[in-house]
Amino acid sequence: MESPAIAVHQLRKVYGENAAVDGLDLVVPRGSFFGFLGPNGAGKTTTIRMLMGLAEPTSGAIELLGLPMPERAVEIKSHIGLVPDESLLFDNLTAAEFLEFTGRMYRLDRRLARERGAELLELFELTGSERKLIGDFSKGMRKRVAMAAALIHRPDLFLMDEPFEGVDVVGARLMKDLLSEQVRRGATVFLTSHVLEVVERLCDHVAIVNRGRVVLEGSMAELRSGSESLEDTFVRVVGAERATERLEWLA
């Protein structure tokens, strides 16, 4: 039987006295489009950082593509495409330079990295901005660059933190189509997003995390079996159903 793309067991991450992730269990099947949802501060970003190798778990086990993390980190990383938050981009490189850099870091030779970089720039409609530094890009353009960098080595697993944040409609559509295509070829996509409509339309599996633990997990079909929308389900399971108090001075 093929190992899952992501298998997380009793994952914990404690900062001082606060557990950002508190005994998280998760299994993401290969070839799935997995939505990892939760309110702000639920532990999504910490979890994805641990999966990316940016943070070391306090306890628990992580397996990616059947390999233990961090023991086989180098091997695992070569099969992963990342769309992290913006902090991992290099502001003083142009998009073409950054894509070439990323390709070479993923062990493509220089010529191939440059070729693929040029093709990806064209695909993401960044060809008019060759001389522009990433630092001068808008938020949406930066996301496009990050997405292009994630694709350059044709990874088997995509880890994405809010990939559609700040991206315009055309860019978002392109990214969605590309990701769906990747899933069709057998890759796995694991993404966090606050845009539930996007998750509802793209993802076939969803997990909702709250206070560092998974509070609901299942296929999209299972979640849709009731009358509730994903938004209703989300609000119900994270316990956020309360009337908004009105501020008198704001009236």
């Binding site: 900062y15 001082g16 070479r104 990433i134």
Partner: protein
């Protein structure tokens, strides 16, 4: 795809190339004047060491100097060791290093990253490398020395960069942790000042005896010097190789630990802790100044108090200065200049350490807030004024702590000495504020205050600091000159008062000028402050 070795070389090449591209891409944004100044300062600074290198080469190549070479080389290499390992600690700067949080996501074997990191340690000792290169060429030219003699220098350099890599990782990691950072600082302060303190106190004879009885051949600089002088012997080779192995194991161990502990969110948590500790102490500006100045100054105090870089500079300001200068001063005769002025020196040293964070780059230290200065209603002038208030406050606290510690440990301080030291400190601070405002407005640069140690050791930064202190030191020098010429304390204090009045006016002009420059160049300034992100930070 490539073979494993080829792929790793490709990755290392990509990191280095990306670094150079980042540096190159920044160039068009730097004005011609800045480039010219940077080149001039670079020529002056490195020219100095090239001159020393020529001297070293001349000495090493002279056949007649062979008998003294073991002693000269040993002393020189010990100074090189101190420059490489201790000076970065003294000036809270560690040179260029890999941006691990940006690189750790890629499939690069840790040993490759370690290799690059080790090579980057040369950035904190370029000057030493220049001098050692001169000495090595001299050895090669000396007909009385064997051809392999420069190997001693090579092995010494390898030892130093491996040790520097380990020390940097250890310090950076320790100082990133709020609860043990201050303890770690004091530990390293003690380590650095221990020899002087033991001599100064002269109480622990066993310790002194132990230090003096360490066999000379045991030290890496002695072993390297013996090899470089052509009288190596097996012991010298074994000793220096053993030091290299130990430094490698230490460096690798520390690097692996840093790699495991790379996390991006720690500063946020630190801020949460700091909020509780300093809340009551830092709210005074709001009760002293009307808003917006009160709010702006309070914000500055809070931001700085939570910044690891500032806290390190602040603590080192009063601790290191005293621990280093007091033993030196009190070894001198009672009437010596050093002994008479140790308090002023210790206070000025505290200001010097604070300058990088508080004076030279007032907008870079909280660069995330820079945009808001142009968006909020208060004029930029108020922002600069508030930043200066924060600077003055922390400088005064640091200098006061120096004075209080002196009184607590019963170091004889006469009232006139204390008054003189305080006046010098105030005068230098006022002039530095004026220069700093202008430098900050004309040349803002992004700084990362979450890093306890400054990573840059750029020539321009060093020279701006050096020239700034030189200019700020002129008024004080004039006061000393007045006292020397007229032989009266009154002349000294009168000149100080006059210079303070001029300094105050210059400071006021600097606030106005800096505000105007920032408003005129707001786009370029914001771009300079927002730009971060290279595989190697420098």
């Amino acid at each position: 795809m490539k073979s494993a070795a080829g792929a790793t070389r490709n990755q290392v090449g990509a990191i280095v190339q990306a670094y150079w591209r980042c540096t190159w891409n920044r160039l068009p944004r730097i004005t011609k004047g800045n480039v010219a100044v940077a080149i001039l300062l670079g020529v002056l600074w490195y020219g100095l060491f090239v001159t020393i290198a020529f001297g070293a080469a001349a000495l090493a190549s002279a056949p007649g100097s062979v008998p003294v070479l073991p002693y000269v080389f040993a002393a020189g290499l010990m100074i090189a060791f101190i420059y490489w390992q201790v000076v970065p600690l003294l000036i809270a700067s560690t040179g260029s290093s890999l941006e691990l949080p940006k690189l750790i996501v890629y499939p690069v074997p840790p040993r490759s990253l370690f290799g690059i990191e080790v090579l980057l340690r040369t950035s904190s000792g370029v000057e030493i490398l220049i001098v050692i290169a001169g000495a090595s060429i001299g050895c090669l030219l000396n007909p009385k020395l064997p051809r392999w003699s420069p190997a001693g220098f090579l092995l010494f350099v390898i030892f130093n960069i491996l040790l520097a890599a380990g020390m940097r990782d250890l310090l950076t990691r320790l100082l990133a942790r709020r609860r043990i950072r201050e303890m770690a600082i004091f530990f390293f302060v003690l380590m650095a000042a221990l020899p002087q303190m033991s001599v100064f106190l002269a109480r622990n004879r066993h310790l002194k005896a132990a230090i003096t009885q360490i066999p000379v051949w045991f030290f890496p600089w002695t072993a390297a010097a013996r090899i470089a002088s052509g009288i190596g012997g097996v012991v010298a080779w074994i000793v220096i190789c053993a030091w290299i192995v130990a430094a490698y194991l230490f460096g690798r161990w520390q690097f692996d630990r840093s790699l495991r502990e790379v996390e991006l969110s720690r500063p946020q948590l630190e801020a949460a802790g700091a909020r509780r500790t300093f809340a009551w102490l830092l709210s005074w500006p709001s009760s002293m100044f009307r808003d917006p100045l009160g709010a702006l100054a309070e914000k500055e105090l809070r931001v700085l108090a939570r910044a690891p870089r500032f806290r390190l500079a602040f603590i080192m300001g009063f601790s290191f200065g005293l621990m280093v200068f007091i033993p030196i001063a009190f070894q001198d005769p009672s009437g010596s200049w050093l002994r008479q002025n140790f308090l002023a020196i210790a206070m000025v040293y505290a200001v010097l350490l604070l300058a990088d964070v508080l004076y030279w780059n007032i907008f870079g230290v909280d660069r995330a807030a820079a945009q808001s200065y142009f968006v909020y209603p208060p004029p930029v002038r108020s922002v600069i004024f508030a930043k200066n208030v924060a600077t003055a406050f922390f400088t005064a606290i640091d200098a006061s702590i120096v004075l209080i510690i002196c009184l607590l440990i019963r170091i004889p301080v006469r009232p006139v000495q204390a008054a003189e030291a305080v006046c010098i400190c105030v005068l230098i601070a006022v002039w530095l504020l004026a220069i700093g405002n202008l430098v900050s407005a004309y040349s803002p640069r992004a700084a990362d205050l979450s890093q306890a140690f400054r990573r840059t050791s750029g020539v321009k930064v060093q020279w701006v600091g050096f020239l700034g202190f030189l200019v700020a030191g002129v008024p004080v020098s004039l006061a000393y000159l007045a006292r020397f010429a007229l032989d009266t304390e009154l002349a000294f204090f009168a000149t100080m008062a006059f210079m303070l009045a001029i300094g105050g006016y210059v400071w006021w002009l600097s606030v106005e000028t800096a505000a105007r420059v920032l408003s005129e160049r707001r786009e370029a300034s914001l771009a300079a402050l927002s730009r971060v992100g290279t595989p190697i930070s420098s």
